[in-house]
Symmetry: C2
Subunit: 354 residues, 2 copies
């Protein structure tokens, strides 16, 4: 069932973005008695099919179980999870995969999304093979390399002059006018069902951490991690939730106080007004977590550090390490803590003139 | 133990590239009684630690268990294995990972390699974190994007004017003069120990195929697949080897007859004189396999087909699909056959101006 996070309204599990009251929705299901009961034998994301709201079939390719890699960072045990190794190069594939499965289930064959970043790339990877035409609304000035990727994957591109907000408005207008489904991952409850599997995997690979640091813009990963660990607690696998640290980009904070200087590097989380803000606040309070804002100088240093250790990630992924350094300086995290840091996006897309 | 494929000479399991007779070496060990006995609980390549010649420790990050994705191609069941989702963007990480583990075991801290492609990128990803300085000899005219990747990963670049052969000679000279270890993956027996795990995974994910189509230049993947399936047979998991199809690039054939027109697209297998040629010939004969050569027009068509199905691969990866189409036209493969096609390298590196 879908449940409204604002008024508690309930809806059947169909594809739907909002409650009639305007609130955002989450999938709510009874969890199995234990994780091991729910696991399948698959060696990919289908391992968690028993915990996903899918009733028949799934799209291809199936996202990976991504490796974790442990490093000592300033006296903490930092567990990096390599989400950038998913088929489209970002963690978003987990959410897109569940979403596309749901769209196929409902016979939806044409959808609309506004993005020229990882969300668009992820949708383009899964949609066409599933028989879905993806209309992607992109800024006319987006990088030619990114647009070429989207085109080669078979997406239909619509170019919009203007800022990010103009692109969004044109996409929504187009969807309404043409009667097509708008698949905002910011709102879509099935997207979070996919991202929650990061928590399941990390738990199986390295147990429950004391802290989880997630790049947080729209909150699709942050809330997925909260939901995944919450479900592990419901199943009796863990008895406490890790503290969630929302890592935000300078100038685009929604949970921390807003800085005046805008980050240019952390483009994946440059989202000032996320529609799921209230849900994120609740997750922070429930886990006694906190918000940390980071700017480009420290993101740049963190990015260099990660590449030198073999993690070819994009700048947004480096925000979590920058935040960890910042927290260690201010005694926000105890030495000896165990931390989970998802590395969200591939840096191969960010190399010029390769 | 290391065994020479030419004279049968035996050596202890140290890092070594050739037999005293000049022949190439393979690791030979007794296989466990069954695959399930040997498997570990890890959800990454360490799953197969029990079948690898490692005695202590391993480098980080650990390569993934890559997903497989099944498609009907001209009446066959084509199982694509997404090796391009490894940490450095290619299957080579499997071989590099075992190699670097071995180098660390032996206390080797400085190595030399000539490549500006996937092998170099893979070595750069694993070496620095393992405490190894990688001297990479690269053509002075290699793409600035690729060189920037290698630099950011912490490799030491040596630029050489001249053709690929000049680069190779300078690397060998430098290694000899400075007493450093030259780590040619073409010769290195530990590299094949890593690539053999593709066979183990594919077998666990989708059983034994009738045919395996592998891009084949130096033969490190081809021979790894042969060795992996051979070990599965030794363990009694399978009773026959799949037929191995060596897919080669037009103008660079070593197993098929040499074409006059040279492929520009299949740069990953543009290797005219692989040192393991005799071993490859034996694997072809033993499995009743064959060689297929493909050229750029069909590689281009196959690449387009793969991208439209969500596989963001580089052109060399598309050779296997081009070969499958060619074999279906000439009745070289029966309809209804089950085929394994590893997709070897990421296409994100090949996008201009992203």
């Amino acid at each position: 069932m879908l449940v409204c996070s604002k008024c508690g309204g309930e809806y059947p599990e169909r594809f739907r973005l909002r409650c009639d009251c305007g609130g955002t929705l989450m999938v709510m299901r009874e969890t199995p008695g234990s994780l091991s009961d729910a696991l399948t034998e698959y060696l990919d994301m289908r391992r968690y099919l028993g915990l996903l709201p899918l009733s028949s079939g799934y799209p291809e390719p199936v996202p990976s179980i991504t490796p974790v890699s442990e490093l000592d960072v300033e006296g903490t045990t930092a567990i990096f999870k390599l989400e950038y190794l998913q088929p489209s190069g970002s963690f978003k594939d987990r959410g897109t995969w569940v979403t596309v499965a749901k769209l196929v289930e409902e016979g939806i064959t044409e959808v609309v999304l506004d993005s020229s970043g990882n969300a668009a790339l992820s949708l383009a990877v899964f949609a066409r093979r599933a028989g879905i035409t993806a209309h992607l609304f992109v800024p006319a000035h987006a990088s030619p390399g990114k647009l070429s990727l989207l085109g080669r994957l078979g997406a239909v591109l619509h170019f919009v002059e203007g800022d990010r907000m103009a692109v969004h408005e044109r996409a929504v207008e187009f969807a309404e006018r043409s009667g097509l489904t708008y698949v905002s991952h910011w709102l879509n409850p099935y997207f979070i069902e996919g991202t929650k599997t990061v928590a399941f995997e990390a738990y199986e690979q390295s147990g429950v951490p004391d802290y989880v640091l997630a790049p947080t813009g729209s909150g699709t990963l942050f809330l997925g991690l909260w939901k995944g660990f919450s479900e592990l607690r419901s199943m009796g696998e863990i008895d406490r939730l890790p503290k969630l640290i929302a890592v935000q980009a300078s100038g685009y904070e929604s949970l921390c106080g807003r800085s005046s200087l805008r980050s240019y590097l952390a483009e994946g989380i440059a989202i000032s007004e996320p529609p799921r803000l209230e849900e994120m606040r609740r997750a922070l309070a429930e886990t006694k977590g906190s918000c940390v804002s980071v700017g480009d100088p420290e993101i740049g240093r963190a990015l260099k550090w990660l590449w030198e250790r073999g993690f070819m990630v994009e700048p947004t992924s480096a925000t979590v390490l920058a935040a960890l350094w910042k927290l260690m300086e201010s005694d926000g995290i105890e030495r000896g803590s165990k931390l989970l840091l998802p590395l969200t996006g591939s840096g191969l897309k960010t190399v010029e003139g390769i």
